[in-house]
Amino acid sequence: MAVRVQAEDFDVGVEIRHLMQGRTDVGAIVTFTGTVRGESGGRPITRMTLEHYPGMTEAELERVENEANARWPLQASLIVHRIGALAPGDNIVLVVTASAHRQAAFAAAEFLMDYLKNRAPFWKKEETPDATVTWVEARQSDDVAARRWEVPDEGST
């Protein structure tokens, strides 16, 4: 289990090799990579800047990862999130989950992304070709995506 917040790019292949070093108990690895789109709501984007809350970001990512490990039998997991200035096509976030079987790895990866988008204190700012800078608005659909993982209250069906 590990979380990293960094300005540098990451290499999915390298991360998988590190994660698998000396292991023979893994039967499935799922990776998710989020990248910068070159347009937003029909407007071209020239640059994206990611701000975060140092200290809380790491704590929140660890909470999210602990929650995933409590719910699914994971052999290993990794979250890497970039900060600073990024260009269209650049990597933003990497989630890797490793398990004995694919179901847990798929589900945990999706859960990690949904929860991270909803809880980790990152904020995106987009710049258009005419140098207009706007903060990205949170999407309602991301809230809904995170809520579907909520454990129902006792007594409800």
Binding site: L50, G55, A120, F122, A138
Partner: protein
């Protein structure tokens, strides 16, 4: 007692600073009340907290509801809904 207050993203831009240490009066008990109190500190605060209902709060680096008590908190952060990932 002095409390460290942090601002992020457009809240930070509108307030014009990333953090400050403030003596919060005893009558200010919740994060919501703290936002109301901050609004009176100047036009930049009034603008930053005009849409207080969309602003999220963290106490000592953990998410809380705006109605949470701030008693004993050392670090209080205000920010827009998060947009990472």
């Amino acid at each position: 007692m002095a409390v460290k207050i942090l601002y992020f993203a457009w809240v930070r831009e509108k307030v014009g600073k990333a953090e400050e240490s403030l003596d919060v009066p005893a009558g200010v008990e919740t994060a919501q009340q703290l936002m109301e109190w901050l609004k009176d500190r100047g036009p930049e605060y009034a603008e930053a907290f005009a849409r207080a209902n969309v602003i999220r709060v963290a106490l000592d680096r953990a998410h809380v509801k705006p109605t949470a008590s701030i008693a004993g908190a050392r670090e209080i952060a205000f920010f827009p809904p998060v947009t990472g990932g």
